[in-house]
């Protein structure tokens, strides 16, 4: 938002150029995303850039300039929805434009993230655990450090070893700086870093991570439930379909079989079952009697 004061101040040429460059970028592809790059170490960033080359264009810039570019473009194209992207510009923001739909984009960005150590002061995204066993480190001050963060440790076979599996911090809790150092020294990388999607715009709609996150397992489960519902009602309501006609026949048959056996009304298909049932009942009763009441055959 430009105030009256700002417009009177002279704006540095490079800034104007940057805003124009950004605007061109924003116009160039149908999907525009705001990315947070603050967490990414340089080497990893290069790896990620290699992965996404050709599929997306990423440009870091000052948040204020990004916001200005978005607003100006929104006004120029009379697209107020687009301007809402500015709500998501924060931290180490960058603009990403691509042809990929927001869901695919989210999936790819998540897939390009790599494990990294957690920093002191950060919130644990999940329970972080250390495992029992040797740390491989020779005896030294590290032993004390482990103990000072509550990890039971001792010297075993000449190396510092952790005595038992332990959850050192629970999801949602803050990781202390001391703990972060220890975890890092242990080679524990509990978080994933990479390009963090803050919001994506496509065709008048803004998508946020919660909407874009597709839980495939849950989805498969839903499909299976829907299918089961269809099969169930098809058979229960006797709605014949190609997929369920056999099941329907079987159910009708099994019902008839059950009634036949229950009523001891012998039919060609159930005579054996009924005889078998009577025999089994006889055996069961015989099993409760003492030997002298039984004949030789039954005594076994």
């Amino acid at each position: 938002m430009t105030s009256a004061v700002e417009t009177q101040r002279k704006i540095a040429p490079w800034k104007i150029e940057e805003v124009n460059t950004l605007k061109e970028l924003l116009k160039s592809k149908p999907i525009v995303a705001i990315i947070d790059m603050m967490e990414v170490p340089a080497r990893q960033l290069q790896e990620i850039r290699d992965k996404i080359r050709g599929k997306m264009i990423l440009r870091m810039s000052r948040n204020s300039l990004i916001i200005r570019a978005i607003q100006e473009l929104s006004e120029e194209t009379n697209n107020p929805e687009f301007a809402k992207l500015t709500d998501y510009v924060e931290k180490g923001a960058a603009i990403l434009v691509t042809d990929m739909n927001p869901f695919k984009l989210y999936k790819e960005l998540e897939a390009s993230k790599t494990p990294a150590p957690i920093k002191g002061g950060a919130i644990a995204p999940c329970d972080i655990k250390v495992q029992k066993g040797s740390t491989g480190m020779p005896p030294g001050p590290f032993l004390g450090e482990l103990k000072s963060v509550g990890i039971p440790a001792a010297i075993e076979k000449g190396k510092i070893a952790i005595k038992e599996d332990k959850v050192v911090v629970k999801a949602g809790e803050v990781v202390s700086h001391k703990l972060a150092t220890v975890l890092s020294a242990l080679g524990i990388k509990p978080i994933k870093v990479g390009l963090n999607l803050l919001a994506a715009y496509e065709d008048g709609i803004i998508y946020t991570p919660d909407v874009l996150k597709i839980d495939e397992e849950e989805f498969i489960s839903k499909i299976q439930n829907a299918y089961m519902h269809a099969v169930n009602i098809s058979v229960n309501a006797a709605i014949p379909t190609k997929d369920t006609i056999e099941l329907l026949i079987q159910k009708a048959f099994l019902n008839a079989r059950a009634v036949s056996i229950e009523s001891a009304f012998l039919t060609d298909k159930t005579a054996s079952d009924i005889i078998g049932k009577a025999y089994a009942q006889m055996l069961s009763l015989a099993g409760k009697l003492s030997d002298d009441a039984l004949d030789d055959e039954l005594r076994e």
Binding site: Q250, A258, V259, F265
Partner: protein
């Protein structure tokens, strides 16, 4: 099994399972009806709770045959 199906048909249709009803149904199917069998069917079904029997009808499943 046609005698039993006749009974279940009547039951599903909410009709009483009488000898006449069963005979009608079987004749309509072109069956050469054995009156004694119809009688036996109706007698055997007396006191049988068909809905319960059907509810307990299950597909037999055997644990995989032991090696």
């Amino acid at each position: 099994m046609e005698y039993v199906y006749a009974a279940l048909l009547l039951h599903a249709a909410g009709k009483e399972i009488t000898e006449d009803a069963v005979k009608s149904v079987l004749s309509a199917a072109g069956v050469d009806v054995d009156d004694a069998r119809v009688k036996a069917l109706v007698a055997a079904l007396e006191g049988v709770n068909i809905d319960e029997a059907i509810e307990n009808a299950a597909m037999p499943v055997a644990a995989a045959a032991p090696a």
